[in-house]
């Protein structure tokens, strides 16, 4: 799992993960705590906590219970301000070595989440894959739109809330490669290149929801070699030199930096030269 300078936000405690959803539905708190313990022991830098549509009180109770079994800082993962507030209020930095929690996430249309900094200082994940158009949230389609969304969020955090770049975790948004006929991979890498070269973003951190990259693809190739882990590693190999230093991901996955002649690396390099359905055809060639 370990790649130097890459921090994992353990993704398991999330209501949208089917096996975890069952634990939530059964109110199996011991099962959820076991996930926290496991991820902590396996090297997660943060433990994500997403309770879905459950109550703020549920989030607060779960945060306290997780902190009683795991010493890693938490990532409070919800778009609901009341649930986020409850999670932040319940969070005890002393139980995480003094570390601030992460708040996942703030978007251009949800900058009000920064008001929760009054409750507790946190490190925001700034979701730059969407931006505000005529008062509504819309997906960013170009690197420039993505960079502008990130800049707006960083400036708001810095200028209006006294935040520092070092606390910013910019998420440019990663989309499933197996359905990417619209060039999202180009948007993402284009945006990362621009931000990496822009002094305005100096000190910022970058993260993506890495498992999303390979969702809906088979787990293995016909020769038994892995598909998902290899493509995710290829992504890291390409993105880390552009500043990516965090991922929301699995502590079970063996992430590694790949050599240029690795088939997954060749696939990703080819994909970055292709557009439209040729991307899907190349991905299919990799796993078929």
């Amino acid at each position: 799992m370990a790649i130097e300078n890459l921090k994992i936000i353990g993704e398991s405690i999330n209501d949208s993960v089917p096996s975890t959803h069952k634990l939530f539905e059964a109110t199996d708190i011991d099962g959820l705590l076991e996930l926290a313990r496991f991820q902590s022991e396996r090297g997660a830098a943060y433990i994500d906590v997403n309770v879905g549509p459950r109550s703020p009180q549920f989030m607060a109770d779960l945060v306290r219970k997780i902190q009683s079994v795991a010493c890693k800082p938490l990532s409070i993962d919800t778009p609901d301000p009341a649930i986020a507030r409850a999670g932040l209020e319940a969070y005890d930095p002393e139980k995480a070595g003094g570390a601030k929690p992460v708040l996942n996430s703030v978007t251009s249309l949800r900058t009000g989440m920064f008001d929760l900094l009054e409750v507790r200082r946190f490190r925001p994940i700034l979701l730059a894959s969407e931006h505000e158009v005529d008062g509504r949230s819309r997906p960013c389609r170009t690197p420039e739109e993505t960079v502008a969304a990130a800049r707006h969020l960083v400036h708001t955090f810095r200028d209006q809330y006294g935040g520092a770049n070092d606390d910013c975790i910019i998420d440019p948004g990663i989309f499933p490669l197996g359905s990417d006929s619209e060039g999202n991979i180009h948007r993402l890498f284009g945006a990362m290149e621009q931000m990496h070269a822009d002094p305005d973003f100096d000190g910022c951190h970058y993260s993506v929801g890495l498992s999303n990259f390979t969702v809906m693809l088979p787990s293995k190739r016909p020769d038994g070699t892995p598909v998902k882990g290899a493509l995710e590693s290829a992504f890291l190999t390409k993105a880390m030199p552009l500043g990516l230093d965090m991922v929301i991901g699995s502590v079970k996955r063996k992430y590694e930096l790949l050599p240029p002649d690795h088939p997954a690396m060749q696939c990703l390099n080819d994909v970055l030269q292709l557009t439209g359905f040729d991307v899907l055809t190349r991905v299919r060639e990799f796993y078929a």
Binding site: S16, G52, R138, F175, G178, M216, R284
Partner: protein, 211 residues
């Protein structure tokens, strides 16, 4: 494969260029457009769906085949309209308000088109009133709602309530899907059906229109 026809084969392997050539040639040779749809295109997409459900095909294959199907369908549609051929049914589809995710919705829309349905795609972040307007405009439609977030799935009930309030609920069937959706949730909010994948959504829609 050849016994099913060249167009069937081209769609099954996702060769859009070949599908276009075969369809153009067939139409020039005065082939029955409805027969092309019913005997080659729909069976090809049914087979794609079967392979998808058996994990022989994955999302890239599904999308590539759906594109080949769409390429052929665009050539055939004017001929179908001229002959007065009706689609299997009509589906108004969209991702509910507050949710920008469209991959699952697009997959379902493609498979429904491949299954012979007319699909009106309203896009993402669709307000309840837009679903109501579309259902009003396209009467006897199926309304298909998608949501990826646990925080937006509750909006599905709001759409159903809005259809009820507009007096459209009786003649509109509502189907739902998305990562956090379950049959139990569908039952709870009074949806007419739920599918956990794009291929099965076609079977569900066919069942609801009695096809």
């Amino acid at each position: 494969m050849a016994e099913n026809g060249e167009l069937y084969d081209a769609i099954l392997v996702g060769n859009a260029k070949k599908a276009e050539e075969i369809t153009t040639a067939a139409l020039e040779a005065k082939a029955d457009p409805n027969e092309l749809v019913q005997k080659q295109m729909i069976p090809a997409m049914d087979e794609v769906g079967r392979r998808f459900e058996c994990n022989e095909y994955f999302v890239p294959e599904l999308l590539i085949s759906a594109r080949a199907m769409k390429t052929a369908l665009e050539l055939i549609t004017p001929h179908l309209a001229a002959s007065g051929t009706q689609p299997t049914g009509r589906v108004v589809i969209g991702t509910v308000q507050g949710d920008l995710h469209d991959i699952g919705k697009n997959l379902v829309a493609s498979m429904l088109e491949g299954g012979g349905f007319e699909v009106i795609d309203l896009g993402v972040d669709v307000p309840p009133e837009t679903f109501v307007e579309a259902a009003q405009e396209k009467s006897n439609s199926i309304v298909a709602l998608s949501a990826l977030l646990t925080t937006t799935m509750t909006m599905m009930k709001t759409v159903i309530d809005a259809l009820q309030e507009a007096g459209l609920r009786e003649k509109t069937r509502v189907i739902i899907g998305g990562a956090p959706i379950t049959q139990a949730f569908a039952d709870e909010i009074g949806a007419d059906g739920y599918s956990d994948n794009a291929s099965a959504a076609v079977g569900l829609a066919r069942k609801l229109v009695g096809a």
